[in-house]
């Protein structure tokens, strides 16, 4: 019997699903090697089908998306029980991702903004004797490993097909990677950057610029051009796609294994590049970074040491 595999999404966008589809021809090979028993975006299996499976009967569940509501938490717990291995698939599951930016607000603030004067969703609803329930919308978004034990992580927004293929092979191999491993290279993106050699040895920046304020040269290190490129602090694995697209790295692969708080480290690294000890000059240099939390914690706020904004 072929090993069983499940794909599921929590608070996510479906980009991780697309990334699996982007395996293209190889997807057929994967489908040959494993039985996909659950994958809402592509297959018609239901939650009750999963619930009916014996515990531990799935080899691996690839769960993407952050944990935003109670239903996602329940599904994560269900898949955890059914699976021998759980992979946090993509940066939302690993660190919280873009949906994690919601931790700058809370449930009340979001619901008030989204529904304004309309009907606000209620946990329970009954009509004509029929009762329905909605999941609880949490105040705080968390990464997958805050609600269940996670065995492996696959970073990226989304993970690239190459990494996905390697991860599947690693899980099918006789010897599994060490528990807790991030299934991607463990050096920073500069290592893969085509512009690496153009970074001067002593790079100091007087003023940063925002991407729409310059016509960026296509050969030169973007940081050397004053753009806040987070490549030096971001795990490699994407092969510098954004930089090849002439845009700075925004950090969607998260930190290396040696860094505990991606945003704090990235902030520290970028601040180190500023060529001044004068407070007002430093302020001016940082004018091009009007949104530090959105810049440095864009994909990792829920898993940062602070986790969220403290609401008054």
């Amino acid at each position: 019997m072929k090993p069983k595999v499940a794909f599921y999404w929590c608070a996510s966008c479906g980009g991780c699903e697309e990334a699996v589809v982007d395996l293209d021809e190889e997807l057929l090979g994967v489908a040959d090697a494993v039985d996909i028993v659950f994958w809402p975006v592509a297959l018609d299996f239901k939650e009750k089908d999963v619930a009916a499976m014996p515990d531990g009967s799935i080899l691996a569940s690839f769960i993407n998306g952050a944990i935003r509501n109670s239903h996602q938490q329940e599904m994560a717990e269900l898949l955890r029980a059914k699976s021998l291995v759980v992979v946090a698939f993509g940066i939302c599951a690993q660190l919280g991702g873009i949906p994690g930016l919601a931790n700058l607000s809370d449930a009340k603030g979001i619901l008030a903004e989204v529904y304004r004067d309309g009907v606000t969703p209620a946990r329970r609803y009954s009509e004509n004797g029929y009762s329905l329930s909605l999941p609880e919308f949490f105040d705080t978004v968390v990464a997958l490993d805050r609600v269940i034990q996670v065995d492996y992580y696959l970073p990226g927004c989304p993970p690239t097909p190459n990494l996905i293929r390697d991860a599947v092979h690693a899980l099918l191999a006789p010897e599994l990677p060490p528990k807790g491993a991030v299934l991607a290279p463990d050096h920073a993106l500069c290592e893969q950057c085509p512009r690496k050699d153009s970074r001067p040895e002593k790079l100091l920046v007087k003023e940063f610029v925002r991407p729409h304020q310059v016509v960026a040269d296509q050969q030169t290190c973007l940081l050397a051009q004053g753009l806040v490129c987070l490549g030096p602090g971001t795990r490699a694995g994407c092969n510098a796609l954004c930089i090849r697209g002439n845009m700075p790295c925004t950090g969607c692969f998260g930190p290396t294994s040696r860094v505990r708080d991606y945003g704090a480290k990235a902030l520290s690294a970028i601040a180190s590049v500023i060529e001044s000890n004068d407070e007002s000059q430093i302020e001016r240099a940082l004018e091009a970074v009007p949104d530090p939390v959105g810049t440095f914690y864009r994909y990792s706020l829920p898993s940062s040491m602070l986790g969220r904004r403290r609401m008054e």
């Binding site: 966008c13 479906g14 997807l27 018609d44 991702g97 607000s105 903004e113 845009m247």
Partner: protein
């Protein structure tokens, strides 16, 4: 409540997004009430506030990873309007190229992965076959591979101009980040 009177479809499948349908039947077996739930609020409306405008194309694309290009492009055009700039002809053509490519690619995805199985494999087929693999089985591996190869090329073309196919990075107010070039 008699469970025979309640039909739950959870989750709804083969589309981007979380959904659940609950149907309640009356005594005669007709539909009395039907409820469609989409419990997947993430709060972009709130957390996009306070972020720099030029970050919007990359942030809003995460609304949907199946059609990120649409959100990316909408934000980019909003930036054009915000900065009151008109992209030069070359940039406009690059944007149109990317968007048209996405249009074709997205249709292919929809037809073979999402909606297609209902028509090609048929609504009566077993659930386990009513999917892309069933479609390929039905139309034959040769056609399947041809479709997959075509979609791959479309995605590569998008990546060439937009940096990434999944969550593009090329939109800037008044233009694009990367000029067109003969080769990469």
């Amino acid at each position: 409540m008699d469970s025979a009177r309640r039909i739950t479809i959870n989750p709804i499948t083969r589309l981007e997004g979380h959904g659940k349908i609950e149907i309640f039947l009356n005594e005669q077996g007709g539909v009395d009430r039907a409820f469609f739930q989409v419990p997947e609020l993430r709060g972009f409306e709130k957390f996009a506030q306070g972020r720099p405008a030029e970050d919007m194309p990359q942030i809003t694309s995460r609304i949907c990873g199946v059609c990120p290009t649409a959100h990316h492009m909408a934000s980019t055009k909003a930036l054009d309007a915000l900065y009151q700039v008109t992209p030069p002809p070359a940039a406009r053509k690059i944007r149109e190229l990317v968007y048209s490519t996405f249009f074709v690619e997205d249709h292919a995805l929809h037809f073979y992965f999402l909606g297609g199985p209902d028509f090609v494999v048929g609504p009566q087929a077993p659930a386990a076959e009513r999917n892309v693999l069933g479609v390929i089985a039905k139309v034959g591996a040769e056609t399947g591979l041809k479709v997959i190869a075509m979609r791959r090329k479309l995605r590569e073309l998008m990546a060439l101009a937009a940096g990434k196919a999944a969550h593009p990075v090329f939109g800037l107010p008044g233009g694009v980040a990367l000029p067109s070039r003969a080769s990469r």
